[in-house]
Symmetry: C2
């Protein structure tokens, strides 16, 4: 069994030297246990927070111990009738090739393996569009943001796993969508998947671009801002908000790697426009996941929503894949094929 | 008739020279009209926003024209049976000694005069604890902040008109209250009206003081932050929030006079703690004002809530009273006695 562990805690953007591969002999299975061979691993921006030695919504990774994260795999050996050999599972023991689950030990990553529901989507979609990133997009846009048909949605990191799903759900539900992404190629792709406009934040300040896009689309302002990045994007969204706008704060990737304070010029808009800013986490909506799965499977089947993935091959590539999240290496969901 | 007008638009903190007194002969009354002699004028921080030439939630004051604002007065001459001579009214034609209301012209300040309800409170309370500032405290704390018995409330500008009412309502409803005010005298008074602790923001940074106060009170963090100032206080409140904390944003007096961006270090806490930040305006709760009036009259009658006012004498003093809001000249509600 091989797994990735933290060798040292990153300061700022993680580098390859922060990670080390650890190896162990395969343990024999105990009662009720089964072995999963991972086929797909997820790397996600939230993992950056767990690399710091501070209490956050998820506990920090321990140095020298296998990290955890979303993964899809197949049962290859089993002492558990509920998880027979050949059964495919979604679980949290990522960053490694194989893992023993079941039995009396608490599940790795805190979540017991879940058998993949039979909704006719490819396995790796359970780590992307119909999994945590897709659900984050769904609940953030529709529950936290309460976005309605006819409204104008602004979403940052729109070429990322969550953002690109927000774009597609919003379009499928009759909203006007302005995305933001880094570089002309990504912006072109964000428009290809349905956005009415896409700002290139690498080409210049966000606020004038957002104002110009709204004007061109004949829109007075933003009704829902889906925030993946914080900082300048959040400030621009506040500056261009409509009355009663909602900001669903999913992430602030701009500041995960920095200790720098964010410079906010438009927070006062919150008062006069009665803006609501609210943070959320995917697990808060656990009870509504089956509803999301069904709704998303329908959008996928109808062709209205597609999963786009950037795949790196081999367990060896997991740290590169993760680091790439912060350097813009992915379009859509970043995955590792074991 | 004498009234205060803007002579020029302030940049930064307003100064006396931004204001000019204008005079006009008393107009004869038309059909349905009545004349009000003002006895009390309100000066409020929100008026600063109306002194800029930018669209905000209230339109800007025009240069050279009588400003508007809350006032209480008595009808001295009347062609309107609904408003007989001697009747007392709350209205928006402040900043002046007399005004003609009723008839076919739109009411000054956009709100028709309201006869003072008979709830047994002194006239000037209708500009303070049972009026707009009191209602702002009530709706912000209980509706927007959804503060509950047993929770911990942090309120900035706690010696101000709104803040001191928040302190008293929160205590009356069984919450733990930490205030913040400028200077030892004000802090002593904030504790006198019931706060469990009061930070002196003039004595040093807010965050370590807030952390120390929470620790001393045996509280894990802030459940509701009632924001009157923005900036450093808001950031400290986010840093010390409990899960699912609510921030009711009433004002950001720290930044009304400045073009400077706010430096925010703890916005990322919004995500993991699922903090909700929401702006609000008193008029949004117009339909619930009678309910607030009745509830507040009860708290006043029970002695649980008291109005504290800083009074400046004479119409001449109105600009000084207003400027004093930004220099800490008031404890409790700042009023002008005409």
């Amino acid at each position: 069994m091989r797994a990735w562990a933290l060798k040292s805690r990153p300061t700022g953007t993680p580098v390859a030297d922060n990670f080390q591969m650890i190896e162990a002999a395969d343990a024999p299975l105990g009662e009720g246990e089964f072995r999963i061979a991972n086929s797909w691993l997820s790397v996600d921006p939230y993992m950056r927070g767990r690399m710091n030695d501070v209490k956050s919504y998820a506990p920090p990774f321990a140095l020298g111990e296998a990290m955890t994260g979303g993964a899809v795999g197949e049962v290859t050996e089993s002492n558990n009738a509920d998880y027979p050999v050949g059964c495919k599972v979604l679980h949290m023991a990522g960053w490694r090739d194989t893992v023993v689950a079941g039995g009396s030990n608490p599940p790795e990553g805190g979540m017991p393996p879940v058998k993949l529901p039979d909704l006719g989507v490819p396995d790796q979609h359970w780590l992307s569009i119909i999994g945590m990133p897709g659900g984050t997009a769904w609940f953030g846009l529709l529950n936290v943001g309460a976005a309605k048909e006819g409204e104008t949605v602004f979403v940052s990191a729109a070429a990322g796993a969550v953002g690109s799903t927000v774009v597609q759900i919003a379009k499928a539900k009759g909203m006007t969508v302005i995305g933001s992404a880094g570089g002309a190629d990504k912006c072109a792709w964000v428009k290809e998947i349905g956005a009415d406009a896409c700002l290139d934040y690498k080409s210049g300040p966000v606020l004038p671009q957002l104002r110009a896009a709204l004007k061109e689309l004949g829109k007075s302002g933003v009704d829902v801002y889906f925030d993946n990045v914080g900082g300048e994007h959040l400030d621009a969204a506040l500056a261009c908000s409509n009355e009663r706008a909602r900001v669903a704060v999913c992430g602030m990737i701009d500041v995960y790697n920095e200790q720098q304070p964010q410079s906010m010029q438009y927070l006062t808009m919150i008062i006069g426009l009665r803006i609501k800013i609210e943070g959320f986490l995917y697990p808060d909506f656990a009870a509504q996941v089956p509803e999301f799965n069904a709704g998303m499977a329908e959008l996928i089947a109808s062709g209205k929503v597609k999963s786009r993935e950037t795949v790196m091959d081999g367990l060896e590539k997991a740290p590169d894949a993760f680091i790439g999240l912060f350097t813009g290496a992915n379009t859509g969901k970043m995955l590792v094929k074991v």
